[in-house]
Amino acid sequence: MTGFLLRRIALMIPTLLGVAVLIFLMLRVLPGDIVEAKLRGDGAAVSAELIATERARLGLDRSLPIQFVEWVSRAARGDLGVSMWTGQPVTSEIGLRIGLSLQVAVMAALIATLIALPLGTLSAIYPGTPLDYVIRLVAASGMAVPSFWFGMMLILMLLYLFNWAPPITYTPFWQDPLANLNQLIWPALAVGYRYAAVAARMVRSSLLEVLQEDYIRTARAKGTPERDLIWRHAIRNGLLPTITIVGLEFAFLVGGLVVTEQVFNLNGIGKLLVQSVAHYDYVMIQGIVMVLALVFVLTNLVLDILYVWLDPRIEWSR
């Protein structure tokens, strides 16, 4: 197992390096200039000399290879640089928000799993029945409705019924669990619904496939009770593709809740990323993308471990 983990961790390095090269180059070829945007953006009378001075201060006058090497070598030591817009360390800006984004992603994943597993399983066990149709309808609606729109509807409903909306500032869970959940349960529900719909469809289709397998037929022929058949033999094998979907969706949610965060006024990573793009804050964008890439590769690592645990046919050596 140790060898497996070391190999996987070693493979992360070229992946992250590839992401670093791509994001660095992509930002440099896009039109626009942070110094112009910051100093002249809203009409300040700024001389060309001052623009050049600021560019030099931010290191933008140096060659691209030098800028890249400096940034990567610092990032390797955990220093993602300083925001070109706010002057604050990128790590502290991300650190301030990552807890909230991770919590929403975890809560949405939990909600999705709690909804998707029973619904998907029931749908697979009773295919073609009214129950199956209802569940499929619910799942199809979940995929068709954008999360941010569902979130807006949730807030409007709360305002209409109770003249109340979720709190607009974040309270960490360990400070006040009730206040924390009061704010985050709603976006988690809004996102979790779509997430659940995707996962439920995956549970249904993979279970339907597994239930046709020879070993299930054999177990059934040997008189294994239906409940044991489903829980001990079918679900465990049927979970592999579902876990892949749940894992990848989780990684996406950490930085992908851009509009939902704005709807619920959440101070999360997605909102920070959008603001940084609007400001052309290269250093901040690079830092966020690297952190999100790290979340993706770590999630993949966890998924790989789960695969081996769920399916004994997959060996640690692979």
């Binding site: 039109p31 626009g32 200039d33 942070i34 112009e36 945007a37 910051k38 100093l39 002249r40 953006g41 809203d42 009409g43 300040a44 009378a45 700024v46 001052l50 001075t53 201060r57 817009w85 706010t86 002057g87 604050q88 800006e93 301030l96 928000r97 807006m152 807030i155 305002l159 003249n163 109340w164 909306a165 709190p167 607009i168 500032t169 974040y170 704005q262 709807v263 619920f264 006024n265 101070n267 909102k271 920070l272 603001q275 793009v277 609007a278 400001h279 052309y280």
Partner: protein, 523 residues
């Protein structure tokens, strides 16, 4: 006798009600939604209302606009002032005993050094309003309580130029140690001390007990919540914030009033924010005045106002000055300007003729617009339809903010949506943007027009308001005759606040009345 008694009772009741209504109440925290965070803590470098919202409560200025009586200028740190007969020397006497929030005394030297930093910034320091202080020849602290400003030429708008809420007074001692200190630390002498900032979320200030205006501020503190889009409206409706001082749209106002009824109050009026079209005079075919005139003539501002003002907070019809401002054109005068009066169909026929004469009867071009839905994209879509009616095909290119900013500065566009948002109506500020490209970085259309430059300088020294108005009208006529720009709409500001918020009066600029010193919250 009975009638007299009843009348007296009514007068007394009204008087006592009024007295009660005017009696400030102490305590409470104002919760304010703000669209964006300040990108700098240095007032002198800043030009946005977001920076003003955060910093104005922490800083004092030498003079300020009267919050109850715009555009009258009153003292802030200045107790009084005198002006020499030739109008070239201003002597300001300061309020004694003013202290910065760290307890250090604020003297005339702090005022002089701060104003000098704006007028002539040290190397590496950004001063957004430096060019407007060109006529100040020297700034001198004569003693601890006297500042003297000497001008090279008369500047009729000097007090208004000084009253910008972002002309903050800093500690001279701190600036000597580090000229960049205002970028890192909030240390003023305003009504509120800086308390806490949570990046991306909130900004808090607390009451400064030693504030120099006795009795003020009335609030214990204020808290800004940085939020955007629908979140602002939801927060207002659920009473999680008391107000948003930029502007809401008419639909948003209606929704809030319907939901909260008499627990909110509404104020509205025109604002010193304008959207206009800039034609790049350095590019073909927009270097041809006939093409520019045609595109200006085709726009039906009066008809468009009815539609635009229903769906956005824009819609005021005016030329280069805010409609309703004392020195702006009256409706009758406005109707004589190109693109404002007469029959729209006749104007469009003339526009088609001009395009044909210029050799571009089927003109097609890229129209750069800021990728901000409300009001930019809404108005951009509308104006494209106006041009379509004279056979012009404009393709709207949505530009993200940095690209839009760079396009404005560098002239990388054919036709571009442009905007003005100022802290004042003062023509020396507003018209500075219409000078030639070598005089101002705000000349988006990239033209050179010495006639406008001369008129601009002339109006700066004209003491007679009627004569000054005529000079300003000449500038407006010149800009519109040459069609360097096509002004579209001025903003109609709509503020919906918690009805408990008292003594806040709507000013025609979103930058004003943000220091929160004289407002209070009813219990």
């Amino acid at each position: 006798m009975r009638g007299l008694t009843a009348a007296a009772a009514i007068v007394l009741a009204l008087f006592s009600q009024s007295a009660t209504a005017q009696e400030p109440v102490r305590g409470g925290t104002l919760r304010q939604a703000v669209l964006a965070e300040p990108y700098t803590l240095d007032c002198h470098a800043a030009t946005t209302v977001y920076v003003t919202s955060a910093l104005a409560p922490h800083y004092s200025t030498l003079v300020r606009y009267d919050p109850q009586n715009y555009p009258k200028v009153i003292g802030d740190l200045a107790e009084n002032w005198t002006v020499s007969e030739d109008g070239l020397t201003y002597t300001f006497k300061l309020v004694p005993g003013v202290k910065f929030h760290d307890g250090s005394p604020l003297t005339a030297r702090d005022v002089a050094v701060s104003l000098e930093r704006i007028r002539k910034p040290p190397k590496g320091i950004v001063s957004a309003r430096g060019p407007l202080f060109q006529r100040i020849a020297s700034i001198e602290a004569v003693d601890d309580l006297t500042v003297v400003l000497r001008l090279s030429q008369p500047e009729v708008a000097l007090l208004e130029l000084l009253a910008n809420p972002l002309n903050c007074v800093y500690s001279a001692a701190k600036l000597e140690t580090d000229p960049h200190f205002p970028e890192k630390q909030v240390l003023g002498s305003g009504p509120f001390k800086f308390k806490e900032r949570v990046s991306g979320s909130t900004w808090e200030g607390e009451r400064y007990a030693d504030f120099h205006r006795k009795g003020q501020p009335y609030l214990d503190g204020f808290k800004l919540f940085f939020m955007s889009g629908p979140a602002i409206l939801n927060a207002l409706q659920s009473d999680q914030v008391d107000t948003e001082f930029r502007s809401l749209t008419p639909q948003q106002r209606d929704r809030l009033v319907a939901a909260r009824k008499d627990t909110v109050s509404v104020q509205s009026g025109t604002m010193t924010t304008m959207i206009k079209i800039a034609f790049n005079t350095q590019r073909k075919p927009f270097d041809d005045v006939r093409v520019r005139r045609a595109l200006n003539l085709a726009i039906d501002r009066t008809g468009g106002s009815e539609v635009i003002s229903r769906v956005t907070f824009m819609g005021g019809v005016g030329a280069l000055q805010r409609p309703g401002y004392d020195l702006a054109e009256t409706p009758a005068e406005l109707a004589k300007l190109p693109g404002y009066g007469g029959d729209i169909e006749a104007r469009r026929a003339e526009a088609r003729r001009l395009l044909k004469e210029a050799g571009v009867p089927n003109l097609s071009f890229a129209f750069g617009n800021r990728n901000v839905g409300e009001p930019y994209v809404t108005i951009g879509t509308w104006v494209i339809d106006q041009w379509r009616r004279i056979g012009v095909n404009a393709r709207q290119d949505m530009l993200e903010n940095p690209v839009w900013v760079a396009s404005r500065a560098n002239g990388q566009f054919d036709v571009l949506m442009d905007a003005i948002a100022e802290a004042t109506d003062e023509p020396t500020v507003i018209f500075s943007k219409y000078q030639s490209r070598d005089k101002t970085p705000f000349n988006t259309a990239k033209y050179e027009d010495r006639e406008i430059d001369a008129l601009y300088e002339k109006q700066r020294a004209e003491l007679d308001p009627a004569k000054r108005k005529e000079i300003l009208a000449q500038i407006s006529r010149r800009v519109l005759d040459q069609a360097y720009y096509a002004p579209l709409f001025w903003a109609n500001r709509i503020i919906v606040s918690n009805a408990k918020l008292k003594n806040w009066k709507l000013a025609p600029s979103q930058f004003l009345n943000l220091d929160l010193a004289d407002i209070w919250l009813d219990k």
